[in-house]
Amino acid sequence: MDVTFEYTHPRIAKSRIGKLLTGLNERLLIVLILVFSVSGIALIVLGVPIGWLMLGLAAWPYGIVAWFRGELKRVPVETSPRSIAGVLDSDIASCLPKNPSPKDIASAVMQTQAGLFYAVRFGITPNFLLEIASPEQSHTTEVWDDTLELFEELDQGSVTAGMLIYAIIKQFPEHAALLAHNHLELDDLKQGIVWQLHLGMLVEKHSAPGRTGGIGRDWSFGYTPLLNRFGQNISQQIAAGGLLNVELESHKDSLDQLIDTFSSEGRQNAVLVGETGVGKTTVVHAFAERLLDASSKLPGSLKFRQVVMLDSAALLSAAPGKGELEDLIMRIFSEAFSAKNIILCLDDAQLFFEEGIGSVDLANVLQPIIDAGRLRLILTMDEQRFLQISRRNPSLVNSLNRVSIKPSSKDDTLRVMQDQLIVNEFKRKVTYTYQSLQESYKLSERYVHDLAMPGRALKLLESAAGYAENGLVTMNSVQKAIEQTLGVKIAVASETTERETLLNLEDKIHERMINQVRAVGVVSDALRRARAGVRNQNRPIGTFLFLGPTGVGKTELAKALADVYFGGEDRMIRLDLNEYVRNEDVARLIADGADDPSSLTAQAMKQPFSVVLLDEIEKAHPNVLTTLLQLLDEGILRDVKNREVSFRDAVVIATSNAGADRIREYIDRGYKMEQFEDQLVDELINSGQFRPEFLNRFDEIVTFKPLDKPELMQVIDLIIAGTNKTLASQKITVAVDQAAKEILVERGYDPRLGARPMRRIVQRVVENHIAKAILSGSVNPGATITITSTQVEETLGKNDKAAAIEQESGYTADSASD
């Protein structure tokens, strides 16, 4: 095809005439037609012959208007085009000068409706396009070349504004980076072309009159007053244009199966089974629409049949007693059967087969009707409920024709969103960007668990409308919707305070933790990587194995992280794996939240943005560890219902005391941590405590060294600071002098138990002393209580270390672990 733009080509010239006649000029011509015809007729009636001329003259403006509407408004493309002029959309062609440069093309494109579409939906504004488009006429051929290549690839009938935008952007050398700034790729622009044309087609289809059988269609069928009261006639709603339906590729098989079932001689019923959100009701709507379409190839027994959805809530409220309800249902069914054109649909049919709040077991009434198979009936049911009912009532299930509805693919989901957003935009008075759709799909796939696709993406898309900025639903709106509902952080860190926290994470953690610099460092690095957006999105933020003796700060680091970064210590999902020592405990780990809210998957579903602490991992059953492998590797764990639960926004920390003695031994022999870490891991593998494939799954294996005495002095300061925080409400401050601290360290230090016994001893001494002081009235608000070495010795007794430690060890072994 010739890529020279022929300014004088008839199509292009006609486009220009069309542009000239658009708007005011068209209205002017219509006024002329009216003036000529009315005055002509009036003059003829009055007996003035000039009226004939006036009337005749009305034909010319009429002709021009007819020509404008029939051809010039949108000049049809040539059947065998030889140049770009033969296929270029006329609204663009009409705005182009004789020898257009890419900049001229950009300017023309942005004046069209399609240009506006790209500006709003993709953020490709006129200024942006004009900025990057070349002003050189010599570059135009390249733009035409790329456009025609895309025109042939997409086969959409004409060269549209979207194709030209694509070509202009592609010509820009830095286009990839530029588009990435808008979270786009070139392929997304291609999707936009199809989307824009599809929207146009939808509007056309919606405004075209439907052929739905006409005035005498229902005269052979019975009246249905009861059904009208307790049901929702979907067919009627579709015929009135009130339902916008999307026929999906992934639903095509199910729809055909449904039509086959009702066309055959067998039992006239079907049960649509699929996860919630998969689109079962949409299939029913699509089925109703197909039946109404006079042009569809259907047997006469199905054409124009009405699909009526029963409203279970209305039924239950009208007939609260079971006997009454059974009677009402029978009357409705009998009415539907006698009418001869009704296909009844029981949406969420499980409500009719089980006893509960808002549901009632009518299996006894429904079973004979379903068995007989004469009344046309569609049931929709959640997969899980269907299995439960089939276990309870196998004969019922055997009488039903099962049609499985599968979740939609990514392409299909995006198509549904593109179609459905028209309704949302109309209802909520917002406009969705292309990026918001992509983000809705991505985030809903990761965070929304209770629905299948496309329902989960649509749900998020709908809630994002509440976070629109200036009427525009963007990627940020979707992220905010998820962040607000689930409390996760998705957007790249941009707030100054958060940046500060990230950059000074180590300092903030060290405010409540002594030493363990390496451990704090690796965890902080992982978080910074995650929030700068450079981490692998398909894994947890970080996975760490903390090795070391008890009381050295392993759990404390996890808590500190939850507090400092994730927003509170309650942002920690803690599992003591010494409670998962049997094979059967795997089921408990992945139990459904409804049965066991404390299962790992249930907690992660509720709180995906958190620290997951797997304590004493070496004690878990090997099958529990195998189950956790997928979590560590892909950040995904499937629960008992086979739902994917994401851990990709969590930091997973496993702790173990395994090798604690060896660590102490190495330290005592004067080794530094870095010198023996690898050897220690080898020893753990060789001794069979951990399998190599398990250890390999961690980003880092961090060894915690036992605390020495100077560090313990700092721990005391932290403990005292904690006590002062508690006492702040009573306006009392406590201080411990240096000598007293040394005694506390001396008495509290135990190489086997780390800092933990010391914490208890400090608390005992300090808190006892304060309690006595407060009760005796010797301190007033604003006072500072100083604890001296004498007071410590008084409380603990001289050289009572052994006894103190013994007492604390007993306590630790009984009730606590690191």
């Binding site: 009226g51 004939w52 001329l53 002709g63 051809e71 052929r211 005498g216 005269w219 052979s220 009418a339």
Partner: protein, 129 residues
């Protein structure tokens, strides 16, 4: 300017004329669908709105009564349908006639000012009583 007239006239006598035919066809199809004459013919003697349409078992007197009821329902149904078929057929015929007339006038419209001019010169106007 002359090219514009050529383009306009070539559209008028080709695609424009054809578009009128398509438009008439669509209008007739829509009317046909609205009156659904074939459907009415197929169900001409069906009971109207399924009134008294069900089978009745019992004594002969009851069955006879049901038969009569059904017969009345069928007669009412067929009368209503015949009326609608008649109205629909008339409407379709009128639409087809007017449409055909407009199709015939269409090629003459560009000459309407000339015809008007001649009529003006002739001085003839209809005389109203």
């Amino acid at each position: 300017m002359s090219m514009i007239i050529v383009w306009a006239l070539s559209w008028w006598y080709s695609a424009g004329w054809k578009a009128r035919v398509v438009s008439l066809r669509e209008r007739l199809a829509a009317s046909y669908d609205y009156f659904s004459i074939d459907l009415l013919l197929r169900t001409l003697f069906s009971p109207f709105r399924q009134i008294s349409a069900g089978k009745v078992s019992g004594p002969i007197g009851l069955q006879l009564r049901a038969f009569v009821d059904r017969l009345i329902s069928r007669i009412i149904g067929s009368i209503v349908r015949i009326i609608l078929i008649f109205v629909g057929a008339v409407w379709l015929a009128l639409q087809a006639l007017i449409g055909a007339l407009l199709l015939v006038i269409w090629p003459l419209l560009p000459f309407a000012p000339l015809v008007g001019f001649i009529m003006m010169l002739s001085g003839w106007v209809p005389v109203w009583m």
